[in-house]
Symmetry: C2
Subunit: 385 residues, 2 copies
């Protein structure tokens, strides 16, 4: 029995405003795409894990497992996982758990979201369902939640909006190289600072967009498949949870779920922070990437603003740790159920030397960090080659 779980293939649709694609179109494209790149047949798949947040909310589509069954003609176990913006990461984590008790198995993990069929106000309200009822009732949408986190952070550690803006500048520069990205253009600090406020101190260009898209991975513990495919090992995938209400948290300059999931993941993976050369972190807003690097244990608490301003995790920095080579949620786009899968997929491509023009130099360990809501759920996964 092979106790190693490996990723042997990845496919993503473009992320963006895909007016001519339905949720089912996106699911089918990702499903067929990942089978094609791995040269597998659908009959090779033992189970499917589907991450999706807004089925039933922005449209009238629930029981998405049966959508997958219909689109593929399969009758196998199919699970729809919902954990808000961590739905994709949690689908991956669940698939990894599945392999632990199913030797000689192959699982397809898919994340998909169709967000642009409704207007800005409606999608903002839909996303706010991942906040507590009390906080929703006073109008605290997600830009508002992260705006509060940003205000606290800037005030406590004496940083400015420029420090936040650096995150977007870096991630947009990375996204230019990603052919599937929602946005492929450079932005400057001034562009960010001059963009309209969404929720003080966060502006449009501090914020990830509303995107459509789907992404899929094939995971296996079959030696025969690992040998015949470019593969990355899953060293760990861990979830932690926290209160739905930010008012119930002990402090607001840290996401406790990220901290706990990271500790568990590093324990499981038997690697150190210094071994990680590549990360995809959950930059739904610029402040979120700064908090992530601190909470994951890479930057000391309060140092993040300065490190961000130095562009210390840019691919051009010469640093030993590069963050969000995909462009992050900010530039690659954020089809919420798809994001967690895209993060893992980006690591897989980079670690196996398949990242094309955005390929970084040798990297052997990567970490993905996916957050639901304001940190009610966090999933941290570590891959290695």
């Amino acid at each position: 029995m092979n106790n190693t779980h490996s990723i042997i293939g990845y496919y993503s649709t473009p992320f963006g405003e895909l007016w001519n694609k339905s949720l089912d179109d996106l699911i089918l494209e990702a499903f067929e795409g990942v089978l094609k790149v791995t040269a597998l047949e659908k009959e090779d798949i033992d189970a499917v894990f589907l991450g999706n947040m807004l089925g039933g909310v922005v449209d009238d589509l629930l029981l998405l497992s049966a959508h997958v069954a219909e689109l593929t003609g399969l009758h196998i176990p199919i699970y729809r996982i919902e954990a808000a913006c961590a739905s994709g990461g949690l689908a991956f984590q669940s698939a990894d758990e599945y392999l632990a008790s199913h030797p000689e198995s192959t699982v397809l993990v898919l994340g998909a979201e169709k967000m642009t069929d409704v207007g800005a106000r409606e999608i903002t309200q839909a996303l706010a369902a991942a906040a507590s009822a009390d906080e929703q009732s006073v109008g605290l949408t997600f830009p508002g939640v992260y705006g509060l986190l940003a205000q606290i952070y800037l005030h406590k550690y004496g940083y400015t909006e420029e420090h936040l803006a650096s995150i977007s500048v870096k991630n947009h520069a990375h996204g230019v190289l990603n052919e599937k990205a929602h946005f492929r253009r450079y932005v400057t600090i001034d562009n960010v600072l001059e963009s309209p406020y969404v929720a003080y101190p966060l502006k449009v260009l501090d914020s990830s967009p509303i995107s459509d898209g789907a992404a899929a991975l094939i995971l296996t513990n079959k030696n025969t498949l690992v040998k015949t495919h470019a593969s990355a090992m899953i060293l760990a995938s861990e979830i932690a949870t926290d209160t739905i209400s930010i008012a119930k948290r002990k402090n607001l300059n840290s996401l406790e779920a990220t901290r706990i999931a990271a500790e568990k993941a590093f324990d499981t993976a038997h690697v150190e922070r210094k071994d990680v050369q590549l990360m995809e972190v959950h930059d739904c807003f610029s402040i979120a990437e700064i908090l992530a690097l601190e909470d994951l244990g890479f930057w000391k608490k309060g140092q993040g603003g300065a490190r961000a301003r130095e562009m210390s995790t840019s691919r051009d920095s010469g640093s030993s740790l590069i963050v969000n080579t995909s462009g992050g949620l900010k530039a690659a786009g954020h089809p919420v159920g798809g994001t967690g899968i895209k993060q893992i997929g980006e690591l897989y491509l980079q670690l196996t030397g398949q990242a094309g023009e955005r390929q970084v130099k040798t990297a052997s360990v990567g970490l993905a960090h996916n957050v639901g809501g304001s940190g009610g759920v966090a999933v941290v996964s570590i891959l290695g080659v």
Copy 2:
């Protein structure tokens, strides 16, 4: 390592129109209730699986994992599973999978639904999200889907509405004995036949109600806990899937997902149909129980109408197989995420001699059958003592 997974406790809120309870109230009552009956502390729980269909749809509540985290103060893995009306059954199946790779672990499985905060039209539309977009768009709600299945069945095998009505008469009689049931009153064949049509040939009294409620189970593979609690073994829990659209099915006098899940479950459990003395099946409409008994392999195809009319699975029949001692979805109520957990819970109470005034004579093997939508997902679980 103990490879046996056991249920060691069950708690359910009342099912019904619980105007004074929110979704969070129901979740908390079930969570605390099952800890109390098992004399466990929340710190004894390693993971939570929560079945819920309509979070985000009839209210603005997603990321329910973080609701559980907030209500309990836990940071452990919590998974929200959505598979329409099979959400509870699939949460149970997922928890059973989890135990397979987590020795010495204890898991809390919870199903909850709050349905009565919106009107009849809105809840009917919300439930229709478990039908295909095409079928929804022509107005095919779930009473309509099951009405079609009933018409085909009656026509093909020469049965009448009286045959269907017998299912409701039996399940209402069983429900009278269930102190948690939504309805505790007898109905007669004439009552059913005289009730208003919902979707020909199904009438109000052929249909399960819209209910609020929550139920929870504790599952463990720890010998120490099994020894100190009344326990039932999980012999199998299997899921199968099928098309979301009924128009894409090969035939409509059978639910293929039920057939496949049942075959897998009997293979895994190493028991025969004749060994099963007790079942909880998914009688969302009277026709569904007839199809279930046939598709699960207990009645020959086409004989179900006659067997139903004979009341052959009534607790008073002296039969070796009694079905829906809880009252089924019809009388016990159908808070959709809660139903799959209540089914398993009823079997657990009966198999361990804790069913009070509705206790049946000795039963050692029970089967639960939970369906999502019109059979897009089916979960079949077998318990034994």
